[in-house]
Symmetry: C2
């Protein structure tokens, strides 16, 4: 039995016109966009989005966290008292990293808006309100996942006092947008009001491109654990100390870096590991390194696997350290748990792909997204469309328009499946 | 046939008293000494040395580089016109690294002075003047090997304009000691005036201690070559980029560090290599390292071996770089050539050890010493005495007094062999 409205499609030309108008705001010389949160260009993009919504007969909504959205309320039905109606949010973000690309975030917001327009103009009666959302500061110029955390009620005073970008920058940004600490904390919505959250995003990797797959259905947004590992040896004269007599901290750090990569590739194929920095002390040409501090981060889509990987990496560090006569100190720096995407939402995406004749595959998201803020409140799902050469956070970001339209149609069809 | 004066010995108690007086100047809480060049403590040690010489009926001498020495001139002999008489210098230095030890440098100066006293009081007629030297700034608080380079005529205006410790510090130091750029450059001696240079020093390593050998006869002061090696990959998102898709600069740097050590230990047993620092860019937990700059230094006592080692290390860096899909840039930062110790001087040391019933072994000096300034002007030789646990540049420096006396007697006997 076919779904109702299964022949419904977004208007690719209308969506493209909106996408191009948006991409011109904060455009850079190399056709990327530079719209860090609450920069002039970002404020201009937000103003354009608001005016665009108001012109399109959708309701404009904003909150104390500066989240902007278009709302398509349920058309009153006799069998569904409005007081109990939930909202299905579709969306992404309009901010970018410095000198970023046109697609990251912007595609998801424009596709969400196009879905609402398509539903509205076809007069479809749904059981939930639809909302096309631009979440504030997803990229973390100020805090990171700021708007979604505020909406989910996860934002704390401490987040605002010690933001990743520095308190001064946050205060300046909030002032520019007419926001404040207290307005931020007032943006929380009731869990009972949320029917779910769906997001379309470009893949930040090459798996779809490499396998020639149209749509990636996200299984989980990976969690992140991080450590500072200190390999500790002894500073010695690098001329007069024989090779055999050294306790060279660089050897443990180097051996761990190589072995951790090999182990993850061999035993933890769903995970990634990164040694992003090493800090040598004393760090002189002519002194055997006494201590090397390693910045270690690893990601997994699964909590159980995290525990295994954590144990394996720390054992490996201890083994390599002992192998070179070094001492090891480990400092746990914190973790974000993985966010599982909702099974029912994943099924709705998969069925929509099948109905549209689009190939699809399941894959984790290695990067963080606003959905992780909401995953413990309501059903959350994400889809990816292919990004040429896996480019992301770069002016080189490019996704073929056909793929963008495919993504928007899957978003539309999945939303209809979940909203009826 | 035994040498004349082969039964001559230094006075161990007199030498010890001088040594202990000197060790009390700039003494630290943990019984080390803190006498960086031209610090108050260093100036006090220099004043003590001058007064000590003047009280001992030796001639005090100084030059424009602040080198201080005791001179024992040849007793006029009818068959040796004074105009042609050369000088055999024995010595070391009274400056220390910050929070250094009592033996490094000080032992060599005190032993040299004791040799002169012993020769003088025995009325021995030599063919050369003897000079017990304290060279300025051996350790490099200001320039490094400053006094010996000045005496050898190797010091340049550029050395003084861009000194390792900074120009301001050098100017301040020279002012404190009543010296200037022009006085420094005036300290050069004529090559024809130099009969040779002998130095007694503690070993800065454990080879004598480990092999229970009394005296190390230095074959060469090793040369040093240094490079900055840049392993260049690509910055990528450390979450969304698969392990397979990364071009992680840390992998080339780590693999090179491990392999260089193994290669040197296996194929270049006379050499040492040190990766003293790595500098990661961008250096963030969540970004795959795009570039790692490696501070590489290697040392060899032999110029030919240097050329082979240089080639092997650069080939290794290129191989490891290619292995991980990286680009390699190499920047040669300079070299000091190895200084071969004079064969005749080495023989004089060996014969003296044999005559004194002391075991000896040949070994290179992995650290730099003033002898390298003089090795192209005159015969130069060095001996080491054992240092407990190989400690050097540390308050833990300790050499048994018996070993110090052995060293002084070898210095005395070798000087007699070379001066008659």
């Amino acid at each position: 039995m076919s779904q109702p409205f299964s022949s419904l499609r977004v208007d690719p030309d209308r969506m493209r016109e909106s996408f191009n108008q948006l991409a011109s705001i904060g455009v850079t010389a190399d056709s990327g966009v530079d719209r860090p949160t609450f920069s002039d260009a970002h404020l201009a993009a937000r103003k354009w989005f608001r005016e665009h919504i108001e012109k399109s007969s959708l309701e404009f909504h904003t909150d104390g966290a500066g989240n902007h959205s278009a709302v398509l309320p349920v058309i009153a039905r006799s069998d569904s008292p409005e007081a109990m109606t939930k909202t299905l949010i579709l969306g992404s973000h309009l901010d970018s990293v410095p000198n970023g690309g046109r697609f990251d975030g912007a595609l998801g917001v424009m596709a969400a808006l196009e879905v609402l327009k398509t539903v509205r103009e076809n007069g479809i009666r749904l059981n939930v309100h639809l909302e096309a959302m631009d979440f504030t500061d997803e990229e973390g110029t100020l805090v990171g996942l700021l708007g979604s955390a505020a909406l989910a009620g996860h934002l704390t005073q401490e987040n605002l006092q010690k933001p990743r970008g520095g308190r001064d920058k946050l205060v300046e940004g909030m002032n520019r947008a007419g926001l404040s600490d207290s307005s931020m904390l007032s943006a929380a919505r009731k869990k009972e009001s949320l029917a779910g959250y769906l997001e379309l995003h470009i893949e930040q990797g090459k798996r779809l491109e490499r396998t020639k797959t149209d749509i990636g259905i996200v299984t989980a947004i990976v969690g992140i654990w991080s450590y500072r590992l200190s390999f500790i040896g002894k500073a010695d004269h690098a001329g007069s100390t024989t090779m055999e007599d050294r306790r060279d901290a660089s050897l443990g750090a180097s051996a761990f870096t190589l072995a951790a990569r090999e182990m993850v590739m061999r035993d933890f194929p769903n995970c990634v590991v990164n040694v992003g920095n090493m800090d040598f002390a004393p760090g002189a040409f002519n002194i055997v390194p006494a201590q090397v501090d390693v910045s270690l981060e690893f990601r997994s889509p699964d909590e159980d696997e995290f525990n295994h990987l954590d144990k394996a990496l720390l054992e490996l560090a201890a083994k390599e350290s002992a192998c070179f006569g070094l001492e090891l100190k480990t400092e746990f720096l914190g973790k974000h748990s993985p966010s599982l995407m909702d099974e029912k939402v994943r099924s709705a995406f998969a069925e929509s792909c099948d109905a549209l004749g689009l190939s699809h595959m399941s894959l984790p998201s290695g990067a963080g997204h606003d959905g992780q803020s909401l995953a413990d409140l309501c059903p959350v799902g994400m889809i990816f469309v292919p990004s040429v050469d896996g480019a992301s956070h770069s002016p080189r970001e490019f996704t073929k328009w056909e793929d963008c339209v495919n993504g928007a149609n899957v978003l539309l069809q999945a939303a209809l499946r979940l909203a009826m």
